[in-house]
């Protein structure tokens, strides 16, 4: 906090500057726009000075890295001690093809795995379900049973490397498959490290791959918190995700606010179950988007850490400092990539990745240049990984902790984003909480309005997208795109048929029945799901039991 006299004198000096130097310049050279805005549409001032952060109290609002409120980072030395995990989101076609891609990425220096599943898997359907037609392996790998999971991680040291799995509706089932596949190789679950996304609230809000209605979904998630805290101490049982909220069109403030509101709802649900906050909170992790607006994104990450620390300590009374940490994975913004002049995406991704690193991310996925056109080719994904390695080893930005702290602009925007998040928290509370707000279409409407405004800004030329509405070229596509193995689907279907034929079907029926009974009661479902998976029950079969007991979710249609 600055003393009032200094501030008054500075305000006077600024006023003087505006009336003299600035005015003369503006008279001769008007600025490029009447109003400058961020990627999120927030106004940008010409200049930031100590006046903009007059209320900032260093010790209260920033503190030191590794100390409350963690604005400057969750670890005292950050990347000086250990670089972020380079974790490329990958998955397509069959388990065999994706396994080969994982090995390729690890051979090129990737340090963590991240699984993309196809749509049928995300919805809890087997590859041969009628609704799965045409969807096999298109946006990720198909995993219908333990047999697929075994192939997916064949030859990969899952006790040494951490795996993140982007799975939500059927997260408990896919997690059980990962645990069972490791178990068959003699690796106990306590040794497994990784993350299941498991964030159903963001599915209703943005990504839209759900199975069950909100209440039973929340029950399953709390089941995973409880199971994980007992048996998988190294596993992050949720990755509370803003990424998809942002991709659906949200602003930075909406991404921040909605994600943290979801986080608060999960913590509350687990506390309502009777869990002690410090048993599960240290394993909550987050996932954010890194969009184009460099400083706004950095401010968003810093605000996220500060808000979460305050919420966990003050509202939920967590005592373990690890419960106050907001650890997060970042993915560069897929929605910012252009199909036009795809090579330009390498540059966009670099800027976004740099923002994630300067924002203090624990793990990073950099998008490949071809992702507005197809799934990434080997060359494209290698360049994307190299982008992280160059930032890590050549740019020098990882050598000091939170180097942008104290920037008048960055601190002022960190404060702004925190304020905007709290404004949203109040609105959500007024609607009765996150689930009622979803059911009323609140988030969906807010996001759709932002998406539309953004597109209009491009159409109206208020926002320039290089190669799209300026600097266009008319030339054929010059980069190679990935082709899926046409045999993959056939192999997968055959494997599924073989699994159904060769397993002990009587045993499986007993286990599915046990799951059904437990689902109707109040027990933790994880052990039952795990047993069904071990008996080679398929994803579709297990999810059908859940759908039968809990019903399916239908969303309100909102444009």
């Amino acid at each position: 906090m600055q003393d009032q006299e200094t501030m008054a004198s500075l305000a006077q000096a600024k006023d003087e500057w505006e009336r003299t130097t600035l005015r003369d310049t503006l008279a001769k050279w008007p600025e490029r726009y009447e109003q400058f805005i961020t990627t999120s549409g927030a106004p940008v001032e010409r200049l930031y000075t100590p006046l903009d952060i007059a209320d900032l109290d260093y010790e209260r609002d920033l503190g030191f890295p590794g100390q409350y409120p963690f604005t400057r980072g969750v670890h005292p030395t950050m990347y000086r001690g250990r670089l972020w995990t380079m974790r490329m989101f990958a998955g397509f076609g069959s388990a065999e093809e994706t396994n080969a891609r994982y090995k390729y990425l690890l051979a090129h220096g990737e340090t963590g795995l991240s699984v993309a599943f196809d749509f049928p898997t995300l919805y809890g359907y087997d590859t041969d379900h009628p609704l799965a037609e045409g969807e096999f392996g298109k946006c990720g790998v198909a995993v219908s049973s333990l047999a697929d999971m075994e192939i997916l991680f064949d030859g990969i040291p899952v006790d040494e490397i951490t795996t993140s799995m982007t799975i939500n509706g059927p997260a408990a089932v896919i997690w059980a498959m990962y645990i069972a596949a490791a178990e068959k190789r003699g690796i106990p679950m306590a040794k497994l490290g990784g993350t299941i996304q498991n964030d159903i609230l963001k599915e209703y809000i943005a990504q839209k791959s759900w199975l069950l209605p909100p209440e039973p979904s929340m029950r399953l998630i709390v089941d995973t918190f409880e199971f994980g805290s007992k048996y998988l101490p190294k596993w992050n049982t949720i990755s509370i995700s803003g990424y998809h909220i942002r991709e659906a069109g949200a602003t930075a403030a909406q991404e921040l606010a909605f994600t943290l509101a979801d986080g608060i709802a999960y913590v509350q649900a687990a506390i309502d179950r009777g869990l002690d906050v410090d048993t599960f909170a240290p394993r909550l992790s987050f996932f954010f988007n890194a969009h184009n607006d460099f400083f706004e994104e950095i401010a968003k990450f810093r605000a996220a850490r500060r808000i979460w620390a305050r919420v966990m300590r003050e509202r939920f009374k967590a005592k373990d400092p690890r419960s106050w940490w907001l650890r997060f994975h970042t993915q560069t913004a897929g929605c910012s990539l252009t199909a036009q002049q795809p090579e330009n995406n390498i540059v966009r991704t670099t800027i976004q990745a740099l923002a994630a690193v300067l924002g203090g991310t624990q793990s990073l996925h950099t998008n490949s240049m071809d992702e507005a056109l197809a799934l990434p080719s080997e060359v494209a994904v290698r360049i994307a990984l190299r982008t992280q390695q160059i930032i890590a080893h050549e740019s020098g930005v990882a050598n000091s902790v939170d180097p942008l702290a104290g920037s008048y602009l960055v601190e002022s925007w960190t404060n702004r984003l925190e304020r905007e998040a709290y404004e949203y928290f109040d609105k959500i509370e007024a609607l009765g909480g996150v689930i009622p707000a979803i059911e009323q279409g609140f988030f969906q409407r807010e996001i759709a309005a932002s998406a539309y405004r953004y597109q209009r800004e491009i159409e109206e030329h208020r926002r320039i997208v290089v190669g799209v509405n300026e600097y266009q070229m008319d030339e054929p596509l010059s980069i190679p795109l990935l082709k899926l193995d046409p045999e993959g689907e056939r192999r997968q279907r055959e494997r599924l048929a073989r699994v159904r034929r060769e397993r002990d079907n009587r045993l499986l029926q007993q286990r599915l029945e046990a799951l059904r009974r437990a689902a109707k009661g109040t027990e933790n479902l994880m052990p039952y799901i795990l047993d069904a998976v071990r008996a080679y029950g398929t994803l579709g079969e297990i999810c059908d039991v859940l759908r039968e007991v809990f019903g399916e979710y239908r969303e309100p249609v909102i444009i």
Binding site: L122, G134, A451
Partner: protein, 165 residues
């Protein structure tokens, strides 16, 4: 050119807006015969990426069309049924999952079966260049990938519907 001048119904219906001017595209004007152009925006398959579908739906509505949005996870049968019941002039299919070569032919076939050959079909999403000729062959009139301008879609729909009388 993103915004040009059009003289349809004698109105200027597209213009570059000044800063801070949040007027909709061009209200009124998109009328066939006695009524507004009716458009069904549909999301077939399992793909949940509905940002594009919603943005396009809003733009068409702001351009004065009647827009019906199906919501997610529609089967081709549900879409063709909705097109019939809602008596639409246009069906816009939004697919980003890569399943377009399975889903679009089904929709086209069902529209024909329901006697809706005159309905103009547009497809938006991630459609590789190599699939474009096959989709055109099926009768798809417009294919819009990432970066497509809303204005182009609005104009194409208008022209196509007008030419069909």
């Amino acid at each position: 050119m993103l915004f040009g001048q059009s003289h349809w119904h004698g109105e200027a219906i597209g213009y570059r807006l000044k800063h801070d001017n949040h007027q909709p595209f061009a209200i009124g004007g998109f009328i066939v015969g006695e009524r507004k152009i009716r458009v069904l925006i549909a999301k077939p398959g399992l793909d949940g990426h509905d940002r594009g579908a919603k943005v396009v739906a809003r733009a068409l509505r702001d351009a004065g069309m009647e827009v019906i949005y199906t919501g997610l996870r529609q089967t081709p049968e549900m879409i063709a049924q909705a097109a019939l019941q809602e008596d639409v002039d246009v069906v816009g299919l939004s697919i980003l999952s890569g399943a377009h070569m399975t889903l679009v032919p089904r929709v086209m076939q069902l529209l024909k079966q329901y006697g809706l050959e005159d309905v103009v079909v547009f497809v938006g999403g991630i459609i590789p260049d190599e699939d474009v000729p096959a989709l055109r062959q099926l009768g798809v009139k417009g294919i819009y990938g990432p970066g497509a301008a809303l204005w182009d879609i609005i104009q194409a729909i208008r022209q196509e519907v007008e030419s069909r009388g």
